[in-house]
Amino acid sequence: MPKEPIDITPADSVVPVYLEEPTEEELAQRQAEHEAAEAAKATREATRESALAKLAALGLTEEELKTLAV
């Protein structure tokens, strides 16, 4: 159930300003999104590190690989 907005309009605002606190459900969803995004970033970075290690084992650098890819 969304919480009722609270009028917090400051003196310098020409339009109404409301405080709309997120629900517990919304906060939980954001936390889940945040954790999923951070996990995806970590996976991408690990994959990149692994690929670079394989390149190094072949004697290639990242820059040399890009030259080949162009």
Partner: protein, 194 residues
Amino acid sequence: MTRSRQTADWGSRAGLAKIIPSSVAVGSGTGSADTVGNVTFSGASSVSLNGVFTSTYDNYEIIINHTCSANASAYFRLRNAGSDYTSSTYYAGMVSYFTDTTTLYGETSAAAAQAYIGEVSDSKAFTKFSISGALIAERKILIGTTYRTRVTGPTGKGSTFGVFVNSTSTYDGFTFYPSSGTITGTMVVYGYND
């Protein structure tokens, strides 16, 4: 030879017109809008602008300068009559580049309840995007770019993104929020004169 230059006399309808929202909502902290449409916010877990998309314009430009209390993802949602549109019909794609590597990253987000539009961070960040068709009964499309700096590495990340919202309903506003932490900054909306 002198080439004559033809220009249309658009008068006051030329270029971009700044829009004052009908109201502002923050999830926490404070917010304010001045007489020329500059919206400022501080310590906000979300910032929503209501009444910015009207029948006057078809296309809009949104500019946000922000700093966050955390390093996190940045999200966008459409909004109507004071409520966010949270159905899982946001589809986002992004190409990102970093200051510490020449590797490009591709990122996607499909059938989500919000559009992923880059990152917020503990140092200055800048987000700019255009939206088409917010108040027209057709799919909504965003195209934009964002750049965030960070206190510790990777210190810079830039992204170019595209989003479509598979909804033909109409929306008069939007919400910008971080997945974690609170944001402080400024926001402004312009309408494109036809």
